[in-house]
């Protein structure tokens, strides 16, 4: 149990606000959609919390390692607070006022530790563009109190030198991968290995959470479905036997028929010679 940093939280509330300011620029906002889908991720080990949105308890007794939502939030500014379960909102552990939520976006709001171990609330805009048929998207987010890391799939580095609170992503052929997290540039495994089932047409978001110092590093996974698209085409014939259109010979036959008709008619019509 590491409760100390949570008591220090209100102090860092102001600092985390900066991240919200930048979010609008990250998300493409279609003019017609004013509602955003907001998922909440709890990445601070050892403390269940109640999550308040605009003073209203929205997620009671939210456990570490869990992903909640998505909540449908109208475009606008929100006050978000995390308290110990049952505590009054005035005794918030972590609080962010006037967080700007843009319209039409898919956002993950992550309660996590900063690189130096302080609690923070960081919003990430999720890439929910369609993936090509047969593909799956993997997004990796460094939200742990740990130095720069490499993320490896099947032992090979896929994302290198990722730092808190950055993300890296790629679209890969769907399927299972064995992933682990190592300290950047080394083979020292920090987290994992873990089997990830990257389902076709989905985005799998993996959060590295916890603290290296406290040996609480872990992975939290969030999945966004419905990003599939259709294959580019269905090529299913190369013989030509099913072409029921008329071949050239039939057109020649029709032409011959017309010619005979014309010649015969000319001979039959009197007075032409």
């Amino acid at each position: 149990m590491r409760l100390v940093p949570l008591r220090r939280v209100t102090a860092v509330g102001a600092a985390t606000l900066i991240a919200f300011g930048g979010l609008g620029a990250l998300t493409a906002t279609p003019a017609f959609a004013a509602t955003s889908q907001v998922s909440v991720v709890h990445g601070i080990p050892g403390q269940n919390v109640d999550v308040y949105v605009n003073g209203k308890k929205t997620l009671p007794d939210f456990a570490p390692g869990k992903v909640a939502g998505p909540l449908s939030l109208e475009e606008g500014s929100y006050d978000i607070a995390l308290t110990k379960p049952g505590d009054d909102i005035s005794k918030a552990l972590l609080k962010v006022d006037d967080a700007e939520i843009p319209g039409g976006a898919d956002i993950s709001l992550v309660a996590h530790l900063s690189e130096d171990g302080k609690p923070a609330l960081t919003p990430f805009a999720n890439d929910v563009k369609k993936v090509a048929a047969g593909q799956a998207r993997i997004i990796v987010r460094h939200t742990a109190a740990a130095p720069a890391v490499d993320v490896r799939a099947g032992g090979k580095p896929v994302f290198e030198n990722l730092t808190n609170p950055k993300e890296a992503k790629a679209d890969l052929p769907a399927g299972s991968v064995e992933a682990d997290v190592v300290l950047a540039g080394t083979d020292t495994v920090a987290i994992g290995p873990a089997d990830l089932n990257l389902k076709e047409g989905t985005a799998t978001i993996v959060y590295a959470v916890g603290s290296a110092e406290d040996k609480t590093l872990d992975l939290v996974t969030q999945t966004i479905t419905g990003l599939h698209s259709a294959p580019g085409g269905v090529p299913s014939g190369s013989g030509g036997q099913a072409d029921r259109g008329l071949g050239l010979a039939w057109y020649a036959l029709a032409a011959a028929g017309l010619l005979m008709l014309a010649l015969g008619a000319r001979r039959l019509v009197p007075g032409r010679r």
Binding site: P173, A230, S236, G237, S238, G240, Q241, M260, L263
Partner: protein
């Protein structure tokens, strides 16, 4: 007709030419009529299935909705497809996408058909179960779906699972689209009413590129 008179003979030959010419034209006309492509039927039924919200009653008994219903289980792969009207009983292979072209990976062997393993499976309670097969191939001849375009609304078919379970469907539509215009998103949809979509090639064949111009799409809905 008076034989021997030069004028009459000429007239007779001319008549013969006219008659022969007419016969030829009629024959070509009849062949053209017989070989015309079947028109699309049932497109409105497809649109209705596409926009329908799946109902609980359309769920097959095998798919019991547990408390974790939001996390879909692995899709069940069909093993065989039977279409009595075509005297067809084909092995179904689970296929995905050709990594190079991004197109449906239709099984190379023309007597087999391919089920799109990324989409709904045979026990699906929503969305389009897609099975595609060759109409023919240059080196193997006629394929499993050679006569797909002759299916009519009402024709029955059965998807059989690996464990002996099966699910019956009934044709509601048969459509033909140019490959450049086919709304594939609609046929590969994972929402809407549960339905079985069969796809093959058809229409005019370009012997230079060795491709057909069109796709034939048959849509069938489950029958209990």
């Amino acid at each position: 007709m008076t034989v021997g008179s030069p004028g009459a003979t000429r007239k007779g030959r001319a008549r013969l030419l006219v008659v022969a010419g007419l016969v030829l034209l009629i024959v070509v006309g009849v062949v053209a009529y017989l070989s015309r492509p079947e028109p699309s039927v049932g497109s409105s039924a497809v649109a209705a299935l596409e926009s329908a919200t799946p109902t609980a009653s359309s769920a097959p008994p095998a798919a019991a909705a547990g408390p974790e219903a939001t996390a879909p289980a692995e899709e069940v792969a069909p093993a065989r497809l039977e279409i009595p009207a075509l005297k067809l009983d084909a092995t179904v292979a689970a296929v995905g996408v050709d990594a190079e072209t991004g197109e449906f990976d239709v099984p190379p062997s023309v007597d087999r058909v391919g089920w799109y393993r990324f989409g709904p499976g045979m026990t699906a309670t929503a969305g389009s179960i897609v099975v595609a097969g060759h109409v023919d191939s240059a080196d193997q001849g006629k394929g499993a779906f050679f006569r797909l375009s002759s299916l009519e609304p009402g024709d029955r078919m059965t998807l059989a699972g690996p464990d002996g379970t099966d699910r019956a469907f009934q044709v509601v539509a048969r459509e033909r689209y140019s490959k450049t215009r086919i709304p594939l998103d609609k046929y590969f949809a994972r929402d809407g009413a549960p339905r079985l979509t069969l796809i093959t090639c058809g229409g005019p064949f370009d012997s230079k590129t060795r491709h057909y111009r069109d796709n034939i799409v048959v849509t069938a809905e489950p029958v209990s």
